[in-house]
C-alpha cells in the first residue's frame, strides 16, 4: 500500500510542476498510458491471492482515477492560463464610433398617421383625391355658386387653360374628396381625406401649400351632437390630454349649420399649452353637410344627412410638437428634419400611444 501512496505523491508532484500541455500529456502517458506505471502495477494483480486482490484492486483503481483527475484539473488550469495570456493581446478600443444614425420621418406625416389612427378607431377610412381639381369638385358641388364672394375666402391657384376652356384649380381644401366619395359610394360613409391643399398666400402663418384633413360622415340620424362628440373625442385623443373646446357658429357654403371649434390654450414662455388656460384658439371648421351638396352628389337629403369637418394638419403639428414657424416645414433643412422628425421605428397606435 505504501507503494501506491508513493506513486501517487510522485505523480502529484510531477503534475503540479508541469507548465505546459505537452509535458502534462507526457506525465499522463507515463502514468496512465497502455504501458504506463499504473498499468504495470495492475498486471501485478494476477499474481496475488484473492485476499490481496480484494485490497489492491480497488486501491489501484483509485490511484488511476486520482491521477486522471489531477491531470484533467491541471489541463484545464493550463488551458485557462494560455487563453488568458492570449486574450491579453486581443484588445479593441471600444470607444470607436460605430454605425450610422437613422433618418427621421416628417412631423406632418406623423401627425397624419396619428389622425388616421384616432379616426380609424371611430370607423373612418382614409380616402384620397387629386390635387389638380376642376371647378365643379372644388367649388360648385360644394355650394359655392359661380361668382359668389365666398370664393374670395379661398385664394385660389389656377392652372393655365386654352382660351375658352375652364381653368383647373389646385384644390383649396380637401373637401373635393368628400364630393368624389359621395358620388362614388353609398352611405353609410365615414372617411377622412388627408392631403395637400393650396392657397395663393404666403407669410409666417400661411404657406402656398399646406395639408388638410377632411372628415365626412353620412348616414341616417347623424346630427350636430355627433359632430361635437367626434371632434371632442378627437382633440383630446390627439393632444393626449383633456382638452376643453368651444363651438362657435360660422359660415361655410358647404355646411348648414356651420361651426368653428376652438381649444383652450395658454402661452408658457414661448411654448403653447393646449387644453388649459384662458384663451381660445380656432383649430377647425365643421358643420352639417348642406342639402345642396348632398343633392349635387346624388344623395337624398330627406333620407341621409351627416357632417363634415376640416382642419389644418401643419398647424396642429406645430401646436402639438412645438415647431415655431410654418415655413420651415417644407424647406428641407437637415437640422430641422433631425430635430423635429420622428423615429422611424415608431408607429402611432392606440395601444402604445401616438408618439
Amino acid at each position: 500500500m505504501s507503494d501506491i501512496t508513493a506513486v501517487k505523491d510522485k505523480y502529484a508532484a510531477q503534475i503540479q510542476s508541469a507548465d505546459e500541455l505537452r509535458a502534462l500529456d507526457d506525465i499522463r502517458v507515463a502514468a496512465l498510458g497502455k504501458k504506463g506505471e499504473i498499468g504495470k502495477m495492475m498486471q501485478g494483480l494476477g499474481k496475488m491471492s484473492i485476499d490481496e486482490k480484494k485490497v489492491m484492486g480497488p486501491a489501484l483503481n483509485g490511484l488511476k482515477n486520482d491521477i486522471a483527475a489531477m491531470v484533467e484539473a491541471k489541463k484545464e488550469a493550463l488551458e485557462n492560463a494560455a487563453l488568458d495570456a492570449a486574450l491579453v493581446s486581443e484588445t479593441m478600443d471600444m470607444s470607436l464610433p460605430v454605425g450610422a444614425p437613422a433618418g427621421t420621418l416628417h412631423p406632418v406625416q406623423q401627425v397624419m398617421e396619428e389622425m388616421a389612427v384616432i379616426f380609424s378607431d371611430m370607423g373612418f377610412s382614409v380616402a384620397e383625391g387629386p390635387d389638380i381639381e376642376d371647378d365643379f369638385h372644388n367649388f360648385t358641388a360644394l355650394n359655392f355658386p359661380p361668382g359668389h364672394p365666398a370664393r374670395d375666402m379661398h385664394d385660389t391657384f389656377f392652372m393655365t387653360a386654352e382660351e375658352g376652356e375652364e381653368k383647373k384649380v389646385l384644390r383649396t381644401h380637401t373637401s373635393p374628396v368628400q364630393i368624389r366619395t359621395m358620388i362614388n359610394e353609398k352611405p353609410p360613409i365615414r372617411i377622412i381625406a388627408p392631403g395637400r391643399t393650396y392657397r395663393c398666400d404666403s407669410d409666417q402663418t400661411h404657406t402656398p401649400m399646406f395639408h388638410q384633413v377632411e372628415g365626412l360622415v353620412i348616414d341616417k340620424g347623424i346630427h350636430m351632437g355627433h359632430l361635437k362628440g367626434v371632434l371632442m373625442d378627437f382633440v383630446s385623443a390627439f393632444f393626449e390630454t383633456d382638452v376643453d373646446v368651444q363651438f362657435r357658429p360660422h359660415h361655410f357654403p358647404f355646411t348648414e349649420p356651420s361651426a368653428e371649434m376652438d381649444v383652450r390654450y395658454e402661452r408658457v414662455g414661448s411654448a403653447i399649452k393646449i387644453g388649459q388656460g384662458e384663451k381660445w384658439m380656432e383649430i377647425l371648421g365643421c358643420g352639417m353637410v348642406h342639402p345642396n351638396v348632398l343633392r349635387a352628389c346624388g344623395v337624398d337629403p330627406d333620407e341621409y344627412q351627416g357632417f363634415a369637418f376640416g382642419m389644418g394638419v401643419d398647424r396642429l403639428a406645430m401646436l402639438k410638437y412645438g415647431m415655431p414657424d410654418l415655413r420651415d416645414m417644407f424647406a428641407g433643412d437637415s437640422r430641422w428634419l433631425t430635430h423635429y422628425g420622428f423615429n422611424p421605428l415608431l408607429q402611432a397606435n392606440l395601444a402604445t400611444g401616438l408618439s
Partner: protein, 793 residues
C-alpha cells in the same frame, strides 16, 4: 367691419361691458378679430390745471409751471410756447410712456437747467391724438382736475373689428349686429324708426334704368338749398373712431349710413348734371373717379350716365365731374340696387374696392331702398338744411325673398336638440323673420341667405347657443371592422420607415417648381403652368419630387451641412387629369466624401439601387423577380443608372447617379445619386385568401452543398444576367446563388471580367452524390454559357 361700443348702443339698449359684447358676438357667429380701446394707451394721463407759469431763470424758451394734478401740486418745466397760468392741460406723471414720441419719462424728478421737473404736459402729437405739435393740449377749462384724459376727450370707446362672413351682408351695418345681439339676450333693439318724408315739389331730374337686371331699382330725390361744410363734431368723431376720414357733411352722411345700415348711397351735385340720369351698361367710356383713378366702363359694367356721358360706375365708385363740394347747393340722392354678380365682375376686372362695392357685391337690403332714401334725406335736412323733392323710383323694387315652409322636426333631426316650438318661434321673430301659425316663415329682405329649412335651423341653434348642443360619441358601425387604410397607404408607411432606417430623412417639399427645372426632369409642359403662381420660381406643377430635394440638399451644403440624404413621398403630375397624378417616393443622397476610421463607405449609384430595393422590398414587391433596364429620363447618368420593372410596361423604380448636366442646370455642385419609386405600380396582393395562415414549412434533413464557379464574361454583360442564368439552371435544387468576387486584371483578357459565384444546392429527398453534383454543375455551366459566360480555366 369696424364699429364702436357707443355706436352699437345707439341701436341696442344694454348695460353690457365690452367683454360681454365680444363674448356674445363670438357665440352668435360674429367672429371678433380685434378690440382696441384708445383709452388704454391714455390710461396714464389725466386732466391737470396750471396754477402759475414763470419764465425759467436760466432759459428764455422754458417756463417753470406749478401744476395741480391728481398726484398733488407738481413743478413742471415746459418748453411749449402756449403754456400759461389757468390753463387746463393733459398731465403725464413720472414714468409714463409717451406713445407719440415712443419714450418713457424718468421715474424720478429730473433737473432741467437747474430746476427739478416732475412729469410732463403733453401735446396732441405726443399722445397720438393729432398733428398739432406746436404746443401742449389746451383742454376745456370746464374739465375737472384728475379726470382720466380718455374720458375727458370722449375716447373711452372700444372699437370692435370682426369678420363678416359672405352670407351675412347685413352685418355690414351696425343695426343688424344689434339685432343679433338682442336676439341672444344682450339687450333690447332700439333702432329709431325712420319717418317718411314727403317732397314739396316734383323731382326735377329725370331718372331711368335701361338695365333692369344689372340695376333693377334707382330711387332718387333732389334736395335743394343745402349748405355743405364740415359735418358736426359727433359725426366726425364717430367716423374717425372707426378709421374713416371726415370730408364734408354730405360725404360723411353717406359714409355714416353705409356703416350704420349697410346702405351705400351716392350724392350728385345737380348743378353739374346735364339732363336726366340714365343707368345703362358702359360703352368703353372713361371717367375720372373720386378715388383719383380713371376707369373705363365696358358693356358688362353698370354706368350711371347723363347727357354728357358716364358719371360713375354704379355701386362701385362715383366720378369727379358731378361730385359734391363746398359750393354745392342742390343734390340728387341715389339709393339704388345693383346686381351683386355684375358689381363683383366689374370690381374684379378693374381691381377697385370701396365700401359701396363691398356691400353691393354681397347684396344690400332690398327692403330698405325707400327707408335708406328717407334716412339720408332726414340727415341732409338736419345737417345741411334744404328742401326735398318728391321721390322718383326708376325700375321696380325687387320682390321679397320667398317664404320657407318650416318643418320644426328638422331642428331636432339636424342638431339633436329638443326645443319647444315657442322658443324656436321667438328666436326667428327676434331675428326679423315673420313666423306664421302654420310655420310658413317669411324671410326678411336683408336675409336672402335663408332659403331652406336648414338655414332656419342654423339660426335657431346659433342663437340658442352651440354650447347647448349635447356631445354624443359616434355609434360604432355594425359588423366586423375592416382595416381602414388602403394597400398603398400601408405599403408606403413601411417604405418610408425602411428608407429612414437607411439614414435618409423624410422631407415634404412644394408641389410646384420652376418650369425650366421641370423641363430638365421630363416635365414643364405649358399646360402644367400655374396661371397665378405665388412666385416666378414656383410656376409649374412638378414632374418629380427630386427637384426640391436636390435644391434643399445644395442649400444644406451651402450652409455647411454636406451629405444631405432626404426622401419624400408625394404627388407628381404628368398632366392635369386626376389619373395623370401619381404617387412617387423619391430620394437623393449627396456624395460628399465622409472620412471614417474604418475606411470610406462610398455613396454611389449602387447606394441608390439599395435604397430603391429597400423601399420596394418593404412594400412587398417581389424584388427577386424584377427585370433590369435603363431609365428613359435623360436626367440620369447614361452609364450609371437602372430601372426595375415588371414586364415591359410596369415600371417600379429608377435609380442611379444623376446627370451632371442636369445637376449643373439646377445649380447643384458635385455628384448626387437618387431614386424614384412608384408605389402604386406594385401589383396588389392576390385576392384575399380564406386564411392568413402561411404555407407549411418543409425542412429538408439533408445538408446543403456549396459549389464555387468562376466565369469569364465580356465587360458589358451584366452580372445580374449571369446570376439569373445560374439560378435558373435547376430550380428544384439551387436554393441560392451569390456573387463573391468580381475580378479584372492579370489572367483575364482585356474587355472581360471574372465573376465568381457560390451556388447553394439544397437536396430535399436524398443526400447528393458526386454524380448528382456533377450533373447540376454541368447544367449551371451550360446555362451560363448561353448567357455569354464561360468557365474560367
Amino acid at each position: 367691419m369696424k364699429f364702436t361700443l357707443s355706436w352699437l348702443k345707439e341701436h341696442l339698449e344694454t348695460d353690457a361691458t365690452i367683454d360681454q359684447v365680444v363674448e356674445a358676438m363670438t357665440l352668435a357667429g360674429l367672429e371678433v378679430e380685434e378690440v382696441e380701446n384708445p383709452a388704454e394707451k391714455l390710461s396714464a394721463f389725466s386732466v391737470a390745471k396750471v396754477l402759475t407759469a414763470e419764465k425759467h431763470p436760466d432759459a428764455d424758451k422754458l417756463r417753470v409751471c406749478t401744476v395741480e394734478t391728481r398726484d398733488g401740486v407738481k413743478t413742471i418745466v415746459c418748453g411749449a410756447p402756449n403754456a400759461r397760468a389757468d390753463m387746463t392741460v393733459a398731465y403725464a406723471p413720472m414714468g409714463a410712456y409717451i406713445p407719440g414720441a415712443d419714450f418713457s419719462l424718468d421715474k424720478k424728478p429730473r433737473k432741467i437747467r437747474g430746476v427739478e421737473s416732475s412729469g410732463m404736459m403733453c401735446s396732441g402729437a405726443e399722445l397720438d391724438l393729432g398733428e398739432d405739435a406746436d404746443g401742449i393740449m389746451d383742454l376745456d377749462s370746464a374739465l375737472e382736475m384728475g379726470t382720466p384724459l380718455a374720458d375727458a376727450l370722449n375716447l373711452n370707446d372700444p372699437v370692435i373689428d370682426f369678420e363678416v362672413t359672405p352670407n351675412r351682408p347685413d352685418w355690414l351695418g351696425v343695426d343688424s349686429i344689434a339685432r343679433d345681439l338682442a336676439a341672444v339676450g344682450l339687450g333690447t333693439l332700439k333702432t329709431k324708426p325712420i319717418e317718411s318724408i314727403k317732397g314739396s315739389f316734383p323731382c326735377p331730374v329725370a331718372i331711368k334704368t335701361e338695365v333692369p337686371e344689372a340695376c333693377p331699382t334707382f330711387v332718387g330725390r333732389v334736395v335743394k338749398g343745402v349748405k355743405n361744410g364740415p359735418s358736426p363734431q359727433w359725426l366726425q368723431d364717430q367716423l374717425k373712431a372707426i378709421g374713416l376720414r371726415p370730408i364734408s357733411a354730405l360725404v360723411d352722411i353717406t359714409n355714416f349710413i353705409t356703416y350704420d345700415r349697410a346702405r351705400p348711397l351716392h350724392f350728385y351735385d345737380v348743378a353739374k348734371l346735364k339732363g336726366g340720369i340714365t343707368v345703362r351698361m358702359g360703352k368703353d367710356e372713361t371717367f375720372e373717379a373720386l378715388d383719383d383713378k380713371s376707369y373705363t366702363a365696358k358693356d358688362g359694367d353698370v354706368a350711371i350716365t347723363d347727357e354728357s356721358g358716364i358719371l360713375g360706375l354704379g355701386g362701385i365708385v362715383g366720378g369727379t365731374t358731378t361730385g359734391c363740394d363746398e359750393g354745392t347747393t342742390d343734390i340728387l340722392i341715389e339709393c339704388a340696387y345693383f346686381d351683386p354678380l355684375t358689381i363683383r365682375r366689374t370690381a374684379k376686372r378693374l381691381g377697385v374696392n370701396s365700401d359701396a362695392k363691398y356691400r353691393f357685391e354681397r347684396g344690400v337690403d332690398t327692403g330698405f331702398l325707400l327707408g335708406g332714401m328717407d334716412l339720408a334725406t332726414q340727415m341732409v335736412l338736419d345737417i345741411c338744411g334744404g328742401k326735398p323733392s318728391e321721390v322718383v323710383i326708376a325700375g321696380d323694387i325687387p320682390t321679397p325673398p320667398p317664404s320657407i315652409k318650416f318643418d320644426t322636426a328638422l331642428n331636432k333631426r339636424l342638431t339633436g336638440l329638443d326645443m319647444d316650438d315657442g322658443a324656436m318661434r321667438k328666436i326667428l321673430t327676434d331675428l326679423g323673420f315673420n313666423v306664421g301659425k302654420d310655420w310658413s316663415v317669411e324671410v326678411p329682405t336683408w336675409r336672402r341667405d335663408a332659403t331652406k329649412g336648414a338655414d332656419l335651423v342654423e339660426e335657431i341653434v346659433r342663437i340658442h347657443g352651440y354650447h347647448n348642443l349635447e356631445a354624443v360619441s359616434l355609434p360604432p358601425l355594425p359588423g366586423r371592422r375592416e382595416p381602414t387604410a388602403t394597400v398603398t397607404q400601408n405599403r408606403t408607411r413601411l417604405a418610408r420607415r425602411a428608407l429612414a432606417g437607411r439614414g435618409l430623412s423624410e422631407a415634404i417639399t412644394w408641389s410646384f417648381v420652376l418650369q425650366d427645372h421641370a423641363k430638365l426632369f421630363g416635365g414643364g409642359a405649358d399646360t402644367m403652368l400655374l396661371d397665378n403662381p405665388i412666385s416666378s420660381d414656383l410656376n409649374c406643377m412638378r414632374p418629380t419630387a427630386l427637384i426640391h430635394l436636390l435644391l434643399a440638399g445644395q442649400r444644406n451644403a451651402d450652409k455647411g451641412y454636406p451629405r444631405a440624404a432626404q426622401f419624400e413621398l408625394g404627388p407628381v403630375y404628368g398632366g392635369t387629369q386626376p389619373n395623370e397624378q401619381a404617387l412617387a417616393l423619391a430620394g437623393m443622397r449627396r456624395t460628399e466624401t465622409e472620412r471614417h476610421w474604418a475606411g470610406e463607405c462610398p455613396v454611389d449609384a449602387l447606394s441608390a439601387k439599395a435604397d430603391a430595393l429597400a423601399a420596394l422590398e418593404a412594400m412587398g414587391a417581389n424584388v427577386a423577380n424584377l427585370q433590369m433596364s435603363k431609365p428613359t429620363g435623360d436626367y440620369w447618368h447614361p452609364g450609371r443608372c437602372g430601372r426595375l420593372q415588371m414586364g415591359p410596361k410596369n415600371i417600379l423604380a429608377d435609380f442611379g447617379e444623376l446627370h451632371p448636366r442636369a445637376l449643373k442646370a439646377l445649380g447643384i455642385e458635385g455628384r448626387v445619386i437618387a431614386f424614384e419609386v412608384w408605389p402604386e405600380n406594385i401589383p396588389a396582393p392576390k385576392k384575399k385568401k380564406a386564411s392568413k395562415a402561411k404555407s407549411a414549412l418543409a425542412l429538408s434533413d439533408f445538408m446543403p452543398v456549396h459549389r464555387d464557379f468562376a466565369f469569364i464574361v465580356a465587360d458589358n454583360v451584366a452580372a445580374g444576367t449571369i446570376l439569373k442564368a445560374a439560378q435558373g439552371a435547376d430550380k428544384q435544387l439551387i436554393s441560392n446563388v451569390s456573387l463573391f468576387d468580381v475580378y479584372q486584371g492579370k489572367g483575364v483578357e482585356d474587355g472581360h471580367k471574372s465573376l465568381a459565384i457560390d451556388v447553394t444546392l439544397s437536396p430535399k429527398d436524398a443526400t447528393l452524390t458526386d454524380k448528382d453534383i456533377e450533373a447540376v454543375s454541368d447544367k449551371i455551366i451550360a446555362s451560363v454559357m448561353k448567357a455569354g459566360g464561360r468557365l474560367r480555366a
